[in-house]
Amino acid sequence: MSTLHTVNKSPFEKPSLDVCLAHATAGAGVLLIEDGVYAATKGTAVEDRVKQALDSVKLFVLGPDLLARGFTEDRVIDGINVVDYAGFVDLAAEHDKVQAWL
């Protein structure tokens, strides 16, 4: 089944994203929201791991959460799609379920 995973923690605070990626099966979607969006930005210590993940999963980041934290789309790693809340809803509908990594 296709799953949309949501991660809301900064990768520098908790290992939620790493754990999520370790369990996400090929073709899954991973949406970064709230403090999770920092993982989508360029030049971080986790950038390589995030880029690697793009080989097996689709990565998305919630735009309003990025903007709120002072990051525009041009700071986002290539290959990560920026979505708004309507896009979040579409992703939730397109996948078979949503799994939150709280």
Binding site: Y85, D90, A92, A93, V98, L102
Partner: protein
């Protein structure tokens, strides 16, 4: 499509309730059905009508209530979690010998079975928390 929403955190301390609100609003605007919004853990505090944020901040409780009013949303607060945290309606006040209620009238208190039922009935359960 039919969505169920679970909110695990209270207002202001965490973004969970805000994120859930914007998700729910977007889903409704797209014509989806939201079967139920279930408030659990500290999420029950989203139902306190005594919430008084500063004038220049959003009112998380009223915002949910207004959305519920517009779309006839079923917003359920878990009774066990509410009792622990002092969120009460008239029935809970009387049953537990308390001297006040604090729940916003747009929310209702019910059991955890309502969360399980929502997960069964809805096509998607979307959980927001810490």
């Amino acid at each position: 499509m039919k969505f169920a929403i679970q909110i695990n955190e209270g207002p202001y301390q965490h973004q969970a309730s805000d994120s859930a609100y914007f998700f729910t609003k977007a889903a409704l605007e797209k014509g989806h059905e939201v079967f139920r919004v279930f408030f659990y853990h500290d999420g029950v505090n989203n139902a306190s009508r005594l919430t008084t944020p500063p004038q220049d901040d959003r009112n998380v409780v009223n915002r949910w209530a207004e959305l519920a009013e517009q779309h006839d949303l079923d917003m359920v607060v878990c009774v066990a979690a509410a009792q622990r945290r002092g969120v009460a309606d008239e029935g809970e006040m009387q049953r537990n010998g308390k001297d006040a209620t604090n729940i916003h009238p747009r929310f209702r208190i019910s059991g955890l079975g309502q969360l399980v039922e929502a997960a069964i009935q809805a096509d998607r359960l979307v959980v927001f928390g810490d």
